[in-house]
């Protein structure tokens, strides 16, 4: 906390954000039966995991980690995932939708079906399979317009459907986590954090993140306005395409064939933050999922996408 503390002894905005998130984590753990933390290995997940380890210190967080895997994440993400699970002393569940495995669903052939089956369906399956009734997620309200109204506790009816009219008002620091059997709740402890807050916190707290966030020479191809990284041999090059080594980094991480890189020389956190501050495009530009249509996130959410 000392690293976050202001000169004048008052609580800084990061200290307040941290305390608020810890409060939410503790409150939900105390009120639900079987919580789990969705760990996607991105920077938001990294912050959330860090907060969880602080919240229950000196005990390890009293819930497991769940990675809803698509088999198409960057290799560096799998490495950090396994390392962090070991370091935190938390059990790690990895779920791959068996249906998607059987059908060989991939981002090259199946378009949005890839996300639907691996992520949306995979998440529902994993929660049902293990009987988790609360899932912590690293979503933030500043990410996208429709998320500005998302509650910190977001309730899903049986079948994981989100109904905007059935959400509960959240007053003061009181969270009502009661629910019926079969209902689940998604919990977003870092709702009030912005992208800048996340980066500053990672910087000040020294939180390990996937090296892909830092600029480095990487094999890339440019396709449909996105700069894609050729992370493994499964990457299908189109006729005329050849990987070009560029100094790139990622502002957001997902399935590697769907995640656009930005050309960058920022190889330290201050430089990343600097670049972020001076950039003129929003974070989600790098994700193909949002380009479909207006209010796309809301539609995804109603279908059960996180």
């Amino acid at each position: 906390m000392t690293r976050l503390r202001a000169h004048d002894g008052r609580l800084t905005h990061l200290e307040r954000l941290e305390a608020e998130s810890i409060h939410v984590l503790r409150e939900v753990v105390a009120e639900v039966e079987r919580p789990v933390m969705l760990y996607s290995v991105g920077k938001d997940s990294a912050v959330m995991l860090h907060l969880a380890r602080k919240a229950f210190f000196p005990a390890p967080p009293p819930f497991p980690l769940l990675h809803v895997d698509t088999t198409w994440k960057f290799r560096a993400m799998y490495e950090l995932r396994d390392r962090m699970a070991k370091e935190s002393g938390m059990q790690l569940f990895v779920h791959q939708n068996p249906d998607a495995v059987a059908r060989g669903i991939n981002p090259f052939d199946h378009g949005s079906l890839h996300t639907d089956l691996w992520k949306t369906e995979g998440l529902k399956q994993a929660l049902d399979l293990h009987g988790f009734d609360a899932a912590f997620g690293g979503a933030r309200r500043d990410e996208e317009k429709s998320r500005a109204k998302e509650r910190i506790l977001s309730f899903r009816a049986a079948g994981h459907r989100w109904d905007p009219k059935q959400q509960r008002p959240e007053l003061w620091h009181l969270y009502n986590a009661r629910k019926h059997k079969g209902e689940t709740v998604r919990v977003f402890p870092i709702s009030n954090w912005t992208e800048l807050d996340v980066w500053q916190y990672i910087h000040l707290e020294g939180i390990p993140i996937v090296p892909l966030y830092f600029a480095a020479p990487r094999p890339t191809v440019s396709r449909d306005g996105l700069l894609l990284m050729v992370d493994d041999e499964r990457f299908r090059l189109l006729p005329g395409e050849a990987p070009v080594t560029r100094s790139v980094r990622f502002r957001t991480l997902g399935c590697y064939p769907l995640t656009g890189a930005v050309e960058s020389e920022a190889d330290t956190l201050p430089k990343i933050i600097q670049e972020m501050l001076l950039t003129t495009t929003s974070e989600r530009m790098g994700r193909a999922i949002d380009h479909d249509q207006a209010a796309s996130m809301e539609k995804k959410k109603q279908e059960g996408y996180f």
Partner: protein, 799 residues
Amino acid sequence: MPGDGYRADDLAARDIDAYLERHRNKSWLRFITCGSVDDGKSTLIGRLLYDSKVVFDDQLAALVADSKRLGTQGQEIDFALLVDGLAAEREQGITIDVAYRYFSTDTRKFIVADTPGHEQYTRNMVTGASTADLAVLLVDARRGVLTQTRRHSFLVKLIGLRHVVLAINKMDLVGYSEEVFTRIVDAYREFAESVGIDAFVSIPISGLRGDNITQRSVRMPWYGGPTLMEHLGAVDVEESADSSARLRLPVQWVCRPNLDFRGFAGTVAEGSVAPGDAVRVLPSGRTTTVARVVTADGDLARATAGQAVTLTLADEVDCSRGDVIAAADAPPEVSDALRATLVWMSEEPLVPGRSYWLKIGTTTVPATVSRPHHQVDVNTLERVAVETFSLNSIGDVDVTLGRAVPFAPYDESRELGGFLLIDRATHATVAAGLVRRSTRRATNVHWHTTDVTRADRATRLGQRPRVAWLTGLSGAGKSTIANLVERRLHALGRHAYLLDGDNVRHGLCRDLGFTDADRAENVRRVGEVARLMSDAGLIVITAFISPFASERDAVRGLLPDGDFVEVFVDAPLDTAEARDPKGLYKKARAGQLPSFTGIDSPYEPPARPELHLDTTKLSAEECAEAIVARLLEGDARGLPCARRRPRRRARHAGSDARRSSSPASSRSRWVRNDSTQTRSTNLPCTSVPLRCTRWRALVAASHARLRASRAAPSSPGRTSRKANSDSCGSATISTSGIRLTCSHAHRASSSFSSSARRKAATPCSLSGSHTLRPRKSRDSSGDSSEKSTAPGSPGASGK
């Protein structure tokens, strides 16, 4: 280009480390914008985001496209579209929920709760305001202070926001007129004072044009104050926090990673905490000292309000989730009965008497809500009588909790004074609540258990200390009848006292008027006095209009079962008005007496009074006799005629009596050794009804009967007396002495000895020392989460 930006691009570009260092020290401000549909609220927020350069190029491109397609500003950018998120609301053209927006300056991070205005407004605004420090009230310069401005101001005051900005928007549409601005500010000042908003800052702006948002407007040179952003960036919200606040830490979670560590995790709600501090754990009240203030970043020398920490304590005290760790010398109150203001947030209306869950701090308890005392019309701020609350209703209720919880009045503490009501069936959050005060005895002081009990005093006076509560319209005859009752009781040698409505208003309640709240307080005070007097053994007669059922019920709750005799002195309004003994109706009709019950203030007749006296058919004397008879019913001495010749009621011999005679079936039994034992041989058994609260009186009566039966032996076997509906056992007089049997579990009452007081639903017992004690300890399968309540708290008497 409006605004020169707050993201300090230059510094970020030149020296990122200096930039980061500056931003590390940022404070934060959470505020809410309040305005109606057309006040330009979304436009203002969109403008703040835009001017703060939170809007990226791609979003801006989308915004420009959307503005042309959906916007209301022609070909210009519609900033409102930046903040309207959900598809449904876009289609409806209104926003339907609370949205949170984020932007920063060099020195501050801002979180804006955007609460749109329409019929859902109250719920949304209260939700958004509950976490805010400041409110920006938007007023359309063309329209000035409107009903909705009053409504917003009332809600801002209700939720306790200390900082208010009156942003007079759309100045561009009134020619940037200083005169318009001044007129609106003056009009608002007058109103603000009436709702208790002492201070506010007025700023003339144009959200659309960007005047006085981030940049000082060149079109309003007459305005010398800060821009909106300057004010938001400079206002000190922490300085207003009470620096003398004492520690309050609601325990969220007990951390036990191993046998050597037992920590209590929670957020410091108020005050601060350091190792060595003396603390008290509530509601148990046990004291200890803080050993360590643990965090993952190392132990702290001191933690302040807002920090999430884990405390370890010096002693092994019982402490778990829901408890509050507080400064030992200044603990919060603990109570199981609260007066609270509710903001109803559900489509399902309130059902008075239904059990809800109530979450306050980190504890959740069952709670029953009374009928509303009143509802506040948020537009006129008038209090109106209602039967229930529906969506967006605001008003006062009494809440009775399943067990006592630590709390603070909301005005003193948001964290310990705000609560949620949760529907037990749907689990929906149906209301937000603001605690006003405890309606029980002062539970912040230790209740001293005195050795002489209510029953002792009653026995000494030889009477049952009931309270006859006369309620009815003014002019119904309450005072006349009450006076007759007191005279009659006095003539019968009873110790009685009449509390008269008019009389107490000369002293005890002379500071109270005739608003609903004052009426309620008036009744509360009289109820407390009546309870004290009846504790002292007196029979109390009260004569008060007491128009609200919930207040009367609250008094009922103060007294042992059966000792509150609600007497409905019933006279139709026209009859009472025709009598008009004090000329009050005439004055009320002339408008000289506002809030006169029956005229412009409601009267809620009792649903199930112990006595319903129709004064159009009964004389005052007949009414008085009926009350006296009811007051002395079951009394040890009874009415004079009963005293002279006891009536046999053997046919009513209850199963209680039979059961008591059979050792096998009696669940609990106590034998009182008595001097009579040595003298009594071969005497018949006699059973008399016993009510535990009056056991001594009955022992005395049994003695009398024993003597009587010696003098004139009755038929062999048993004679029994009717088991009164309020009896819970019997006294059996037999050869071995007097056997007092309590045959069923029941509520502990105030006549129990202190050891029995806390053991609810336990068969009581008599011992030679004349105290009631349970023979067996309470079954140990009790809910471990159940906290022992403060000694003397009525909540200790269980369900």
